[in-house]
């Protein structure tokens, strides 16, 4: 039996249409008009215990609706969903005791209180036995070096410190699933690495199933083997990251800082995308021309200050995926 | 001249339009105030049923007094300007110092809109309803109406001056509420909103006469119903004027102290 089963989940929202002006407001009182939006349109997937899956898609695509259904906040219109055999919305409380959720944008800790007191309160909220609690807390503290932060009020923590504490807070009750929503948003480079490292260890060493929603492609690249892309409420793609990229686009970006502003780069294997000042964005297909060959060719021909190769940004992959799906 | 007053009128009208947007809230507040007024009228009716001794006010006058109070409730300086409070909390109040305007006048304008806009929304429909159905009397005479309007203008200025002072005090207390917690029930009481001031014992009248709060509700209301005769209207207006001058001067002084403190401590 899969750890998480999502089968044909449909969720629609009705949004009241407002008309402008006083007359519109009066009209709205008498007869409301609704527009329905399909937030989730027959979404299905399965996760095995210990999987770490990246769940990506643009804002409004249905990511957070999925997480809300899985965590029992929202009741879907139809479809089947189970975590460890529990139906989240029907067993909200027992499901909640089994999952952990971290929102990068919002803390679940108590703003005015020292960190340790938030932890203590969570112990009581989650009915954690005191022995288990101390063991879990000390272990998490050792992994993320939390002890120095115990007595600091949450409002005085830096974003990175806060995120470490939030991760610990979501794990005190030893959940078997962890939902992470933008866990690295706004963090400095060092904290990002620390958080990613921790998530990876959590997944590898303890077998916690992790669902990671993020806009940061580096998170996905660093952490997950499997990537699900959602758009318009439908799962557009469910595969490894490399497969996804290979399927959608093989192209790479070549970004060049020229020494001389007036120059134009011409090469049969690259296409020009944009230019600002002496920075030029180009695109090429590594299957047609090996990256190393292209670079040496160009550096030989032009006066170049700096040069680097990038994968196309996630937004572009998604939008290509969209184009692809709307074309069909 | 026009370019001189422009910033102040602009903030006033922008604020006005913003507050007017919350229609539903205004309707809800409207119903609330009718319910509240009805309760108070019924209680006063019961008190008047309990005695046949002559009272300093007739019941009809008390009823009118209560409805006027409900209609003009928004004018009471019971809380600091909420926008200024938000600015103090977030620390953006320092930017106010950068504006090329007289800060006191600027705050006075915005506080005046803060007091007037919601009152406008509620007072007219409420007064109409109370006049038609709930036993509120029309003004005693055309003269009374004129003096009442003049005194109401005085009340607006008085109330705004007090609101600005309350807002300025926020700059001293960290949590940004402080003094207004204490002051607002007292103002509410002394203006005549708990019970009409003429019903207080005679010895209290002398104190109430001196304080500025009578000028916000009690005195204008009684001009309206002719309880204060038109011949004495000048005394009410003079009393208001004196207090407006005092409170504006005090407010401006307080603000200069507050800003100096802000500059020295860096917010």
């Amino acid at each position: 039996m899969p750890h998480i089963l999502v089968d044909n989940i449909v969720k629609t929202f009705r949004i009241a249409q407002r008309r402008p002006g006083l007359w519109g407001a009066l009209h709205g009182v008498l007869r409301r008009e609704y527009r329905t939006i399909k937030a989730l349109d027959r979404v299905s997937f399965e996760l095995e215990p210990g999987e770490l899956v990246g769940y990506i898609g643009p804002n409004g695509a249905g990511k957070s609706t999925t997480v809300k259904v899985l965590s029992g906040i929202l009741v879907p219109d139809s479809g089947r969903c189970e975590i460890d055999g529990r139906i989240p919305w029907r067993n909200r409380i027992s499901n909640a005791a089994n999952i952990g959720v971290v929102f990068g944008q919002r803390t679940q800790l108590w703003w005015d209180l020292p960190v340790i007191e938030s932890f203590d309160l969570l112990r009581d909220i989650y009915r954690i036995g005191s022995g288990e609690y101390l063991r879990a807390r000390d272990e998490l503290a050792a992994l993320m070096d939390l002890e120095p932060l115990y007595d600091v009020p949450v409002r005085q923590l830096s974003l990175g410190q806060r995120m470490r504490c939030d991760l610990a807070a979501a794990l005190l009750h030893a959940p078997s699933v962890l939902f992470l929503d933008e866990p690295t948003i706004g963090l400095d480079a060092v904290s990002k690495l620390a958080v990613r490292d921790f998530i990876k260890r959590l997944n590898r060493e303890r077998g916690v199933t992790v669902v990671l929603t993020t806009h940061d492609m580096d998170d996905i690249e660093a952490l997950s083997d499997r990537v699900m892309v959602i758009g318009h409420g439908r799962i557009l793609s469910d595969s490894t990251l490399d497969d996804l990229r290979a399927r959608v686009t093989r192209e790479r970006r070549l970004i060049i800082d020229l020494l001389d502003e007036g120059q134009a780069i011409e090469d049969p294997d690259v296409t020009f995308i944009s230019r600002s000042g002496n920075r030029v964005h180009l695109q090429f297909d590594p299957d047609r021309v090996p990256t190393a060959a292209l670079i040496s060719r160009i550096t030989a021909k032009y006066a170049i200050k700096d040069l680097f190769v990038e994968n196309p940004p996630i937004e572009e992959i998604i939008s290509r995926l969209y184009d692809e799906h709307e074309l069909r | 001249m026009q370019s001189f007053v422009l910033p102040y009128t602009a903030v006033l009208s922008a604020r006005f339009r913003m507050i007017l947007q919350y229609r539903a809230a205004a309707i809800a507040g409207f119903v609330t105030q009718i319910g509240w007024g009805a309760i108070r009228v019924m209680a006063m009716e019961a008190f008047y049923r309990s005695t046949s001794a002559p009272q300093p006010m007739h019941l009809e006058d008390v009823v009118t007094y209560i409805w006027l109070g409900q209609a003009l409730l928004g004018l009471l300086p019971w809380n600091p300007d909420t926008e200024i409070r938000a600015m103090v909390r977030s620390g953006t109040v320092a930017y106010e110092l950068v504006r090329p305007v007289n800060l006191y006048t600027y705050w006075f304008s915005r506080s005046m809109a803060f007091r007037l806009a919601p009152t406008f929304m509620r007072s007219i429909p409420l007064a109409v309803l109370a006049l038609l159905f709930f036993g509120m009397q029309a003004p005693a005479s055309p003269e009374a109406l004129v003096y009442w309007l003049a005194a109401t203008l005085g009340a607006v200025l008085l109330s705004t001056a007090l609101t600005v002072i309350l807002s300025i005090t926020l700059m001293w207390t960290i949590s940004g509420e402080g003094v207004s917690f204490l002051v607002s029930p007292v103002i509410y009481f002394l203006a005549g909103m708990v019970i009409p001031l003429p019903l207080f014992p005679d010895w209290a009248q002398r104190v109430l006469d001196i304080l500025p709060f009578r000028g916000i509700c009690d005195a204008p209301f009684r001009l309206y119903m002719g309880h204060i005769p038109a011949t004495e209207a000048w005394a009410v207006l003079l009393h208001q004027l004196i207090w407006i001058v005092i409170l504006v001067a005090f407010g401006a002084w307080l603000l200069s102290r507050a800003t100096r403190r802000l500059v020295v401590q860096g917010g």
Binding site: F13, S71, G72, I73, V75, R92, I93, S94, A96, A97, I99, V101, F103, R106, Q108, W110, D112, L113, E117, D120, L121, D124, I125, Y126, R127 | Y22, A24, A25, A28, G29, V31, T32, W36, I39, R40, M42, A43, A46, F47, Y48, R49, S50, T51, Q55, T173, I174, E177, G178, V179, F181, L182, S184, P185, V186, F189, V194, I195, L199, P201, A204
Partner: protein, 267 residues
């Protein structure tokens, strides 16, 4: 392992410590509460000074009504802050966080804040109640003493029910919330005086639709040991507080409906 009560006391201790971080604000807030209920009572004193009695009810009797409703309401007021903020919590996503936790939403909302500054109202109400008790000639018996305790408890439950209603309504709309103030604060305002002084429609509404009279009037008549001008029996007066409790239970039920609506619409 924390049972609901242990968890609740943990919430309380945390809330108290957060409030103690802003000690000045807490002190001013408490004093402000004391003032705002205090001026109301001074108003009552002034009216009795003027009118002598209120339809055969003495000052001490009215003070007893006033005291008991304020004590009961103050208890609720300390617990119910969270329900006042449901709309805000929904918008900020905090409410979803509550649903993510393996506890009932009602318990978590009550645990949101233990508003200590309401002690001001509590203290004032208790003081007036004590004064009235000493002054009145109450025929003490175990059943009267029990009735006082039951009335306060059922009263607090009833008012909590009203606040839960406010929270429930905000699953649908937050624009008209002020309307609910007629029921809560308007009800308190009305309950300062015995229900018997009000018009029939008003009494019926606050007995049969919203059973406020059942916790603030009928049992108090029995405690005072006088005959009810409304002609109810002693047995009913003793049983009446249970309707307050019933209302509370009904409110919890309606809350669940609201929660179901929220969880199916997410808005």
């Amino acid at each position: 392992m924390a049972n609901p009560l242990a968890l609740y006391s943990h919430y309380v201790s945390i809330s108290l410590r957060s409030q103690m971080q802003y000690r000045v604000s807490f002190l001013l807030g408490t004093l402000g509460q004391l003032f705002s209920t205090g001026v109301e009572f001074i108003g009552i004193l002034a009216l009795f000074d003027r009118f002598g009695s209120l339809n055969q009810w003495t000052l001490a009797e009215v003070a007893f009504f006033y005291g008991i409703v304020n004590v009961a309401f103050a208890v609720t007021d300390m617990l119910s802050r969270g329900f006042d903020h449901v709309g805000q919590l929904v918008r900020s996503g905090e409410f979803d966080r509550m649903l993510l936790r393996p506890r009932s939403t009602v318990l978590q909302l009550i645990g949101q804040e233990f508003t200590l500054r309401r002690l001001g109202r509590f203290g004032q109400g208790a003081g007036v109640l004590l004064w009235a008790t000493l002054y009145l000639d109450i025929a003490w018996s175990p059943s009267v003493a029990a009735l006082i305790v039951i009335t306060v408890c059922c009263g607090a439950c009833f008012f909590l029910g009203l606040f839960i209603n406010i929270g429930t309504v905000s699953f649908w709309t937050t624009e008209t919330l002020e309307l609910m103030n007629v029921l809560t604060y308007g009800g308190i305002e009305a309950s300062k005086y015995p229900l018997a002084i009000y018009h029939t429609w008003f009494r019926r509404f606050f007995t049969m639709v919203i059973p406020m009279g059942c916790v603030t009037y009928f049992p108090v008549v029995a405690i005072l040991g006088r005959s009810d001008p409304l002609g109810t029996s002693l047995a009913f007066q003793y049983a009446a507080p249970l309707f307050g409790l019933l209302y509370f239970i009904l409110s919890l039920f309606i809350w669940r409906l609201g929660l179901r609506h929220y969880r199916s619409t997410g808005s």
